[in-house]
Amino acid sequence: MATTPSPGPVRLRVRRGSGSDPSVFRYDSFEVPWEEGMVVLDAVHYVQAMVDPTLSARWNCKAARCGSCSAEINGRPKLMCKTRVDSIDGEITVEPMKAFPLLKDLVTDVGENWKVAAMIPAFSPKSPKAREWKFYQRDVERSREFRKCIECFLCQDVCHVIREHEAEYIGPRWVVKAASLDMHPMDSLNRSKFMKDAGGLGYCNITKCCQEICPEHIVITDDAIIPEKERVVDRRYDPAVWLYRNLPRDQRQLEVAIKKVLKLAFWAALLAPLVAVPILFLAKALLG
């Protein structure tokens, strides 16, 4: 192991505030003794144990597996347990995620995510399960990448649609979730209508910030969002698909379709002279 000489104490600056009045906040500075391989969460723990026990920070596994300790470190959404202090020059400023309501200090309320999760049409197998399903490793690989997600919600935090516009967009994490279900070899649903309407997928304008900051290195935009957008386009906007979907399937639908066409023809016949006559008149007048 390479041992680097101690670069002196770590200077930590933490945004303090309470959810009861988010407009009141301050920045506290601490000096933390340096240790080799130290991460930002270690520094926060030092402050809690040795300086100020009222500092709140959510954490759990401290191994980049659970996704609890999300924060903004020098303005970048990161996991505190995965950010080594020696990767940052100078002072380290830690702030809570801005896209979620503040609870206390570095802790935000990410509970809204579960409401969104409940909206996504759940995994629905093609057939009731026989004892065993047969599919192959190559079928698994497509969905595998999305299942690495640790739900740290950093992608939701960095997404400017959620952060700045509060638009009705479910956000990168939940597009990844939908993609993981859509690409399950045994899933039977098509989620494109949901993604277009309630999911608000059209709001994403592919700035790719989410895939840049994902701590699990999921290529969110290229592998999940764009294919999901393509699915929507294929299904909702392809004229051939549109026509096919709107073909009458039984007698009743056929009658309705015929009536529609007849009605259209009737109005066209009625309105055509009304539109055509003034145009002709105008044209004649203009052309002299």
Binding site: V39, K62, D139
Partner: protein, 620 residues
């Protein structure tokens, strides 16, 4: 063709209008219910001495949202019980996400010779005959169905070339038996169960810490629990007819552990204080391979799958030392044996400079490693700057699992207090003196489901009773007491002292002098714990929660040390240097129970399996 003018047309129009209306309304409902990212009512401040508590009533209260808790909740909900899940951290963050290698079940997909009988035998033999045979039998039989069920819930297991669920080799399993999802099996398991819970609409109250289980004065049944809503700091009184403890283990009472923040043994303390019996508390599993560098991640797990995929252990001299300890199974020996072997090498001075041994997988090639062990690759690159496709890992034993726990009925998971059920790591009986890798994931599914079903039946057959108000008021006093801005001991510091004491005195090899010293230190820390204070407001006050955990942790430490002192032999994970051999007279479970406010121990002989099952056990 029927073409009957007006009636038909108006019907059609009405139908079309109503369907458009329904779509619009549904969309509005969805959006308003979800209100996606804009529901921002700030929480109110709760005063320090505010004793009011909101109330929640349900049939079955599940405490803990790891694999066991979620599986229990699914079963209880499906059985028709009004089920509520509470958990101390966020939903989906439980320690189950850390499980890596796989889930053990005798599917026989890779080794067709495998069957539940061999799995049963492996489990009992490696449990050093301390396991409950009935639990092991149920476990080995039902694990298979639970894996297929998990697949039906949407989990995507790695496949064999024939398109079946793939299985890998693991320590002390006779055949290749671990169904896996790369090395993220636990993550997939918890996401899958989480989806099922969300799909069913089971209510989950995350970030709620239960501080005490309250009993009815008349029947002694558990009927209520006091909890803290961590987000606001407010108190909640839960009323229920059955409670399922699925709170996981107590690894955090040790300094070097692979366990998460929340594994502080609260469930054990809750059960003990509600009069339930604890069993085999001395049985703490040390995982042979934890990271040792850098200090910040010391103890972080290096999955057994590294050895399952062909990883080799060597000491500082380059010797493949496992040939001295278990020449037949080498690196894939049982965890207690490998952990003791590594410990012996380090103690004998054949360890590396930083106090570990080497684990090497680089001979399998970079692509294979990145494919089969992606998390391990990331973990070493990012935390230690070591590329495991080229370099050796440095590892040493780390506290991983607690085989002991709350004593339960093998069939239903019912504890010795009526109305409390337990499943998963907090329960005891399956793993005996040593747990096999991969058995814990099938354990939580098999016994989680059983506890859920049994709790639903129990809740339907009992009437709701009131809680003991005097006990409730006393508990509110206890919970609110540490909230003070007066100077006192720092709870975070206190937790470090507790963990340090256990690591130094109740480690992998124990003796009477060390255990006595550890017990004395626990008593001293217990006195100091009265001075622990939690300053600041009540909302998300971690110091306050940790203060309450300190008393739980001290209780668990005392139970571990007293049981370790009582067991004067070496068996499985419990090694005494002053009693180095297993002793047949110790084929007994040590029960820890509260009698007149004191911790008492009782012995119960291990139940003897019926002859037809005994014949299955391969004791070679």
């Amino acid at each position: 063709m029927v073409f009957s003018g007006r009636v038909e047309a108006s019907e059609v129009r009405a139908a079309r209008v109503s369907s458009e209306f329904i779509i619009a309304r549904r969309r509005a409902q969805l959006l308003s219910a979800v209100n996606l990212w804009s529901s921002r009512t700030p929480p109110k401040l709760v005063a320090k001495d505010d004793r009011t508590r909101s109330e929640r009533t349900c049939d079955v209260l599940v405490v803990g949202a790891g694999g066991a808790g979620l599986r229990a909740a699914i079963e209880s909900h499906d059985a028709g019980a009004d089920t509520l899940i509470v958990c101390k951290t966020l939903l989906g963050k439980a320690h189950t996400v850390m499980a890596e290698g796989g889930i053990a079940a005798a599917l026989g997909n890779v080794d067709p010779e495998d069957s539940w009988k061999v799995h049963f035998s492996d489990t009992v033999v490696e449990g050093q005959n301390l396991s409950n045979w009935r639990m092991a039998e149920i476990f080995a039989k039902e694990a298979i169905d639970r894996v297929y069920e998990l697949e039906e819930y949407g989990a995507l297991f790695d496949r064999t070339p024939e398109g079946k669920v793939s299985q890998r080799a693991f320590g002390a399993h006779t055949y290749k038996r671990l169904c896996h999802i790369g090395d993220r099996t636990g993550l997939e398991l918890i996401r899958t169960l989480e989806d099922q819970v969300v799909k069913r609409g089971v209510t989950v109250m995350d970030e709620v810490a239960i501080t005490r289980i309250l009993r009815s004065r008349e029947s002694g049944n558990a009927t209520g629990a006091l909890g803290i809503d961590i987000r606001t700091g407010g108190l909640i009184l839960f009323r229920f007819r059955a409670l399922i403890l699925a709170t996981g283990g107590c690894g955090k009472v040790y300094q070097v552990t692979s366990n998460s923040y929340e594994s502080t043994g609260d469930g054990l303390a809750l059960a003990y204080r509600a009069g339930a019996k604890l069993m085999d508390m001395e049985m703490i599993q040390f995982h042979p391979t934890g990271m040792i560098y850098p200090i910040g991640v010391r103890g972080l797990l290096v999955t057994e799958a590294v050895r399952g995929e062909g990883g080799v252990l060597t000491n500082a001299m380059g010797e493949r030392f496992m040939s001295k300890y278990d020449p037949k199974r080498m690196e894939l020996s049982a965890r207690d044996i490998v952990a003791r072997a590594i410990y012996s090498e380090i103690v004998a001075g054949r360890g590396t400079q930083s106090g570990g041994v080497y684990l090497d997988i680089s001979h399998r090639g970079a692509e294979y490693i990145r494919n089969k062990l992606p998390s391990m690759y990331d973990q070493f690159i990012e935390f230690a700057g070591v590329d495991i496709t080229k370099q050796k890992m440095e590892v040493a034993p780390t506290v991983h699992y607690q085989m002991g726990g709350v004593r339960v009925d093998p069939e239903s998971g019912e504890t010795s207090t009526k109305g409390i059920f337990a499943a998963g790591e907090v329960a005891c009986g399956l793993h005996g003196a040593n747990r096999l890798g991969g058995n814990s994931l099938s354990d939580i599914l098999v016994f989680g489901r059983r506890a859920g079903a049994a709790a639903a039946v129990f809740s339907a057959s009992t009437v709701a009773e009131s809680v003991d108000d005097a006990e409730l008021e006393k508990e509110v006093d206890r919970v609110l007491a540490p909230l003070s801005d007066k100077p006192g001991t720092n709870p975070f510091w206190m937790k470090r002292q507790i963990a340090k004491n256990m690591w130094e005195h109740v480690g992998i090899v124990r003796n009477k002098a060390d255990l006595d010293a550890g017990l004395a230190e626990v008593a001293r820390l217990g006195e100091a714990a009265a001075e622990v204070r939690a300053p600041g407001e009540r909302a998300y006050n971690q110091a306050w929660l940790d203060t309450l955990q300190v008393s739980d942790m001290l209780l668990v430490c005392e139970a571990i040390i007293r049981s370790a002192l009582a067991r004067t032999e070496s068996r499985g994970a419990h090694t005494r240097s002053d009693y180095p051999r297993p002793d047949p007279k110790w084929l007994a479970n040590i029960i820890t129970v509260e009698r007149d406010g004191k911790m008492k121990h009782e012995l119960e002989p291990v139940p003897v399996p019926p002859p037809e099952l005994d014949a299955l056990i391969n004791r070679e």
